[in-house]
């Protein structure tokens, strides 16, 4: 059975969905979308749709987990059963556990934990639709939710994936590009400090390609950073009691 493989990048350097190589998908970012939490955010990147909520700082529980000089951060990245093709069984997969860890470590890098000794801050990320780039989009939303909760941070942070597809480095790969491409590299940074808080690579890149990819990610992150700040302003400008939005 012969396959006529569809090309992912056309001869004029466009991708299947019409984007340029360095173009991200349509993004929507909102802050303060869930009333019960202390801070929350919503992000859409293409069909990827994610809520994030923050509770705390609050008393660490159980007590022996409390740290005398700083707050502990808990983070749960979770995907709804219906968020993927097919149906994900309820419960945390190994992938979700790993991503919860790397996202938490990224956020621990910017939250000023020393301000809240013996406390805990809980971050919950719920992917209601997964279409590539969920860990970086989830981190972007979580960082915004922390700011919405008024938790002091060195800076906001934002993330985006870069990929290698048919030999080209592309920004914000779609699910199809992620699956069929040669490499996927999620990157998150604190744009103001210019530092990396999350970096992973799946797939093969030469050192030259890596450098190109990292620079492309940086450009994307700066765009997301502006959108985060805009969402925060909008939230605080409309600081009337949340009503019948």
């Amino acid at each position: 059975m012969e396959k006529t493989e569809q090309r992912l990048i056309t001869e004029d350097g466009r991708r299947i969905d019409g984007r340029a190589l360095d173009e991200m998908r349509p993004v929507r970012i909102e802050a303060g979308v869930l009333d019960r939490s202390d801070g929350s955010a919503y992000i859409e990147m293409g069909k990827t749709k994610i809520y994030a909520a923050v509770y705390g700082p609050k008393e660490a529980h159980p007590r022996h987990l409390a740290q005398p000089h700083k707050a502990i951060l808990n983070c749960r990245y979770h995907m709804a059963s219906f968020s993927v093709e097919g149906r994900k069984a309820p419960g945390m997969t190994r992938r979700e556990i790993e991503l919860s860890k790397v996202i938490r470590e990224a956020l621990e890098s910017v939250v000023i934990l020393e301000e809240f000794p013996r406390s805990a801050i809980d971050i919950f990320i719920e992917v209601i639709q997964a279409d590539a780039g969920t860990r970086t989009a989830g981190l972007t939303a979580a960082s915004l939710a922390l700011a919405d909760a008024g938790i002091p941070m060195l800076d906001l942070c934002a993330g985006i994936a870069v990929g290698k597809v048919e030999g080209k480095i592309v920004l914000d790969p779609s699910e199809e590009e992620d699956k069929k491409g040669e490499a996927d590299m999620p990157v998150a940074m604190t744009p103001r400090l210019g530092s990396i808080v999350l970096l992973q690579l799946n797939g093969r890149l030469t050192s030259a390609e890596f450098r190109e990819a990292l620079n492309l990610a940086k450009k994307g992150i700066e765009v997301l950073y502006e959108l985060q700040k805009k969402a925060l302003s909008k939230k605080f400008e409309s600081a009337t009691p949340l009503g019948e939005e």
Binding site: L34, S37, A53, N74, A80, D122, I128, Q129
Partner: protein, 278 residues
């Protein structure tokens, strides 16, 4: 790592305050005793599902998604499709919900939603059989509570029913004893009824519908009634500690019946089934 879900607020003072108000036909948020909070139903919000809906009822936000797959029927119902309902009280939604596998409250919610759908015979399950005893459609309904300000039952039933009513499932055909899926041709699920549930809080012999989280902490008890049709119940669940006076049951039935009618009207609008529109 997380607090165990005790009642969130001290209740005695709030209970007396609420009771005083309710005697005058009033509530804390300005509603009447029999009045629901603002309701919003949006469907088809998750493209990767066969059907989905988000329901906002006041400050409570629920999302439900429907996925279908081929599966084996249960041994005692070889000629019926299966329904599987799962519900999660996400920790995003309230400081009283904890991460982890569904606890007793989430399990109760899933089972009450399941009962409303199953016992009302909403779906014509006998039309979801491809090879009797061997191959049927399994309909998964996943309900997530995203934001919680009381009464997750009614919007969860609304979201689930709206998601089912707007689902488009692929065509399955039997060829040489094998079931073949054709994802290109899609059709609606066979739907017979539109069940809704009505949650009622009780303060002594006084009724208040659709209690908020604050009211839930102060009421004596509460009861959920699932109505499959204009005069037919399909499910009941008394669901907090506390006594219901025997004599109040009549009013509970009458009020919930009326409210169920109102909710069903809103539901039918949301799924585009008003006046026979498909």
């Amino acid at each position: 790592m997380y607090r165990i879900g005790a009642k969130p607020y001290p209740t005695k003072i709030m209970h007396d305050k609420l009771y005083e108000l309710i005697l005058r036909g009033e509530r804390l948020d300005g509603r009447g005793p029999y009045q629901y909070r603002p309701l919003e139903i949006k469907t088809s919000i998750i493209e990767k599902t066969d059907g989905s809906a988000m329901v906002n009822l006041g400050g409570t936000k629920i999302i439900a998604g429907v996925k279908t797959a081929l599966g084996q029927p249960y041994p005692d119902t070889p000629d019926q499709g299966n329904i599987v309902v799962n519900a999660e009280l996400l920790p995003l939604a309230s400081s009283f919900f904890e991460p982890g596998p569904p606890d007793e409250k989430a399990i109760e919610l899933a089972r009450v939603v399941d009962r409303c759908i199953r016992e009302s015979k909403m779906l014509e399950l006998d039309k979801l059989v491809y090879i009797p005893g061997r191959s049927v459609l399994v309909v998964y309904i996943d309900v997530y509570v995203l934001d919680y300000d009381g009464n997750y039952f009614d919007p969860s039933v609304l979201a689930s029913v709206a998601a089912l009513a707007t689902s488009k499932i692929p065509l399955y055909e039997v060829k040489d004893g094998e079931v073949i899926m054709n994802p290109e041709i899609r059709s609606s699920l066979p739907i017979r009824r539109f069940p809704v549930s009505v949650t009622i809080g009780l303060l002594g012999d006084k009724i208040l519908v659709d209690p908020t989280s604050l009211e839930e902490s102060a009421i004596d008890t509460s009861i959920v009634l699932g109505w499959s049709d204009d005069d037919e119940m399909a499910a009941i669940q008394k669901n907090l500690q506390g006594l219901i006076q025997f004599g109040v049951m009549d009013e509970i039935i009458n009020v919930s019946k009326e409210k169920a009618g109102e909710l069903r009207t809103r539901l039918m609008e949301a799924v585009g089934r008003v006046g026979g529109t498909p």
